[in-house]
């Protein structure tokens, strides 16, 4: 339930597909988080690199944690360029009860930001500039220094 797309996400379609996939699973709460490219610092858009093998194992570990709490997670992310006001990221939690879903979406999105092997670049003046200042070193970084 991890979906990677080239370019911007079709948000209404993905939110609809996921809702319909779980329509008969008896979950009481569905909380998607949608991340959209904001206009700031004169960027034209963002671009993303993804390292899939580690993203997959990171996601599977979260799916297991979700399952232990009776929940399920879905996630979609863009590869390559995503322009202003387009969306690059959707994460969603389904769970029987609202508290689990509200807590899980927060924990998941924060760990995603800190750990998922995805690199962000600003698109500016036709160049692709690594967004180092907004990036987070993965826990345990620096062991080779």
């Amino acid at each position: 339930m991890l979906y990677l797309y080239d370019g911007a996400l079709n948000v209404p379609q993905i939110l609809k597909d996921w809702y319909e996939q779980e329509a008969n699973s008896n979950y009481g709460a569905y909380i998607p988080f949608v991340g959209t490219v904001r206009s700031e610092d004169g960027i034209e858009g963002l671009s993303f690199d993804i390292y899939e093998p580690i993203l997959n194992s990171w996601f599977e570990a979260w799916q297991k944690r979700a399952k232990e709490r009776g929940a399920v997670i879905k996630m979609a992310h863009s590869r390559g360029d995503v322009m202003l006001h387009e969306s690059s990221y959707i994460a969603a939690v389904f769970s029987p009860k609202r508290r689990v879903a509200l807590e899980f979406i927060d924990e998941f999105v924060e760990d995603f930001k800190a750990s998922a092997p995805i690199w962000k670049y600003d698109l500016k003046g036709g160049k692709r500039i690594y967004a180092l200042d907004r990036s987070t070193a993965i826990k345990g970084s620096g062991i080779l220094r």
Binding site: G35, F48, D49, I50, Y51, P53, I54, S57, H77, S88, Y89, V109, F112, K113, A114, S115, A116, P117, I118, W119, K120, Y121, Y130, A131, L132, R134, S135, T136, A137, I138, K139, G140, S141, G142, I143, L144, R145
Partner: protein, 73 residues
């Protein structure tokens, strides 16, 4: 032979090295001036598992990856 890959924004071709552990890799990369900042802030994966210590033995065919700071979303 161990393959070393540099992910995301690190502009460096992958290497094939005869090394037995991550400490040997560290010594080699520390001699590459352009790699200095990346060694500070990159995480390391062996065969796609993140590791938290240099005390990892490497064997023929292992794959090492350096992961610089991330920002998905």
């Amino acid at each position: 032979m161990v393959t070393v890959e540099f992910l995301g924004p690190i502009q460096k071709e992958s290497l094939k090295l005869e090394i037995a552990n991550l400490s040997e890799l560290a010594k080699i990369l520390q001699n590459d001036e352009e790699m200095q900042p990346w060694l500070e802030n990159s995480a390391v994966a062996v065969n796609d598992m993140l590791v938290s210590s240099r005390d990892i033995e490497l064997k023929d065919g292992d794959r090492v990856a350096l992961l610089p700071p991330v920002c998905g979303g």
